[in-house]
Amino acid sequence: MIKNYRLLDLIRRQRTPLENHLIDGLVDGRVSRREFIRHGSLLGLSLPLLGGITTAAGFGAMPSLARAQGAPGATIRVASSVPAAAIDPVTIADAGGLLVMQQVAEFLCVDGPDLVLQPALAESWKPNADGSVWTFTLRKGVKFHSGGEMKADDVVASIDRLADPANSSNALSVFNGILKTGASKKVDDYTVEFHLDAPNGNFPYMLSSDNYNAVIVPASYKGDYEKSFDGTGPFKIEKYTPKVGASFVRNEDYWGPKALPERTEFTFFTDVQPMILALQGGQVDIINQMPVLSGVALLNDPSVDIISLKSSAHQQLHMRCDDGPLKDARVRRAIALCLDRDKLVAGLMKGRSALGNDSPFAAVYPSTDTSIPQRKQDIAQAKQLMEAAGVAQGFKVTLTTERYLEIPEYAQLIQNWVKEIGVELELNILDQGGYYGDAVFGKSNWLDSVMGITDYGHRGVPNVYLAAPLKSEGTWNAAHFKNKDYDALATSYIAALDLEAQKADAGKIQKLLLEETPVIFGYFYDYLTATAKGVTGVQPTAMSQLFLEKASKA
């Protein structure tokens, strides 16, 4: 690798100390190219600049994501789940609804399939020295479908609306403790500052497509989004029929390259099987999200292409740390040692997942410390731990969970595996409403159960996973895990701007969680989208979004 130090020096002169530290990490080999590109995008470095730096550092040019452009004018037909409630940027919380909304409305930045942040309505962003204030520069000349230009007032109003507890915003799960209402400030028409409650090194992800509520709508928006479907996106609403479907037409005034499809049609389905039949029968071109078990038949279907995105989505197996036999960390470790994770990945998930190591640090995160040894099935060690904990004879415990995706099958595999150490699991599998209840302690099978398995969707950064289900005061802390050392490490990780500092904290967190094992992370599953052969240019995200502006049909 030949390094162009002259060019690197030139670039370094115009960068901040934080950005230069990242560049140094790449040059010294402490940071890989993939990590560099992803973290550089987080700090607001443009993709061309990142490409220039990697070339100068001797890594060659960045791989081009550009594809041959397909023919324009197609009508792309999508099978999607039914929106569960009225579509509103503030309250939307389901895959069907957010998919429809994302067709017309856009984010400041987009978390791409490789978890690299890409500019959208914001052209660039940068933190202050400690990451407590982030400044976003907006794109000029962007027009809403209703006619007005998108400016800082619209961004401030959109984000303030989401951060306001009075609005029952779904985005509060992201903004709580990070961004208060009124903390988004207009600097000028095209610049907005976000003043955070505390330093946060991953904040741009919270304004990206990762936070699916964070679309920018006009400042004048007063609710009832289904009447206007106003936004800045490459498609405009043509027709929306609740519970049935929606159609969109190309936005000829779009700020970027015009969308290739002339129309898109979305048909809502309540179950995956009819979607599969519709795809096989040629009634739809795309199934937006296909669970691996339900869609196993399509995985080897020659008439179907599968887009498989590595993601951080997973099933958390929590164990109560404050009561009963699971209070002893040795017992929790023993249970974790019973899982045959290789079989989970190869068998249950048909190879469409990555191994979990009992922490939220999935392989997709650049901050994950990959030097931490992978936990593997070890029944002998598990028995020793049970004996040391004084429960060699085993015990009986109830595992409560939800009927969703592959969770019931996962629970039955765990039930079989822990039998080997004398643990008798009784399964209590509920529908999702029964499992989540009111989602507050004391009124939720999820949060009150001794053991439970809960589905967690993809996040571009692990902040939510680190805080809500694991911090002592976490609102989703079903394990009732209270550990001051962990809390401090998680806070430190979340605040860290520097990738190497994040990695250092991540390693400590990974070790601590392996020791304590309040939650078992068995695997991180891929996000699968199925398309009919000949349909190209489809770009899904692991957050259930689907970008169709480059889609075409052969």
């Binding site: 179950d271 995956v272 099987q273 599969i276 039949l277 078990l293 339900s294 869609g295 196993v296 038949a297 399509l298 079989k343 989970l344 190869a346 068998g347 249950l348 009927r403 592959e406 019931p408 099958e409 629970a411 039955q412 595999l413 039930q415 079989n416 009784e426 399964l427 209590n428 599998i429 509920l430 529908d431």
Partner: protein, 291 residues
Amino acid sequence: MSATETIPAPDTAARRGPWAEVFFSLLRSPTFLVGLGIVLFWVACALFGEHFAPYDPLADDIINALAPPSGEHWFGTDQIGRDVFSRVIVGSRDILTVAPLATLLATVAGTALGLFTGYFKGIVDDIVSRILEAFMAIPVVIVALLAIVALGTSKATVIVVIGLSFAPIIARTVRSAVLAERELDYVAAAQLRHESALHTMFVEILPNVIPPILVETTVRLGYAIFAVATLSFMGFGIQPPSPDWGLSISSNYGMIGGGFWWTVLFDALAIASLVIGVNLVADGVQGALND
């Protein structure tokens, strides 16, 4: 008259008594015998299935999941590699525990209510009958949902839900029979003897309305089997990893579209065969009692 007068042999039927005649009539009924054969087969599977099932019905083999029927796995394997044939064999246990117990509960409660309303007639009959009719108008599934919310998911809940849902139907049948019986002389005689109402209902009338109760019970058992399977399919009551047929269909029906028909078909056939078997038995019993 000769010294060795031949005494005519008494009529066979008269010698046996009515219940013995019913028994022998059943033995002559092909419908009953075929139905009984099917039911006894599944009862044997429920009691001893795990001894002749080729694999442990709960043992997973995840790497060999969704294997099609073969010499090794006659009915294929399911989503976590369990042998479907072994699960179908052992899967009769839960349904043949829950459905008969629910039917028994329905019969006991329905008979008591039917005796009560039929015997007292009048305003008592009017009020209780209207309440029962109102209860019968509510679908079992709705009652099950309410009960699950109130009592939690368990086999006991399913037994109570189905038992109480079917009790009004049996009560109506028993009431009709009691209304006819209470006008007969033996009831008037009991009343003249100042027997208590309970004595008259349960000692005098009940033995005479056993035949319709028997028929209704066997018919209800078929419906109860179907109801248990339906509730299991909907996720109420029986929990994984039970190889219960309804639960297995519920867990695997999403695989049909993918061509994995064997994960569902054999459980569905098992339910159908048991329901048919019970219905044939019911037809046989009804025929024998009518003869």
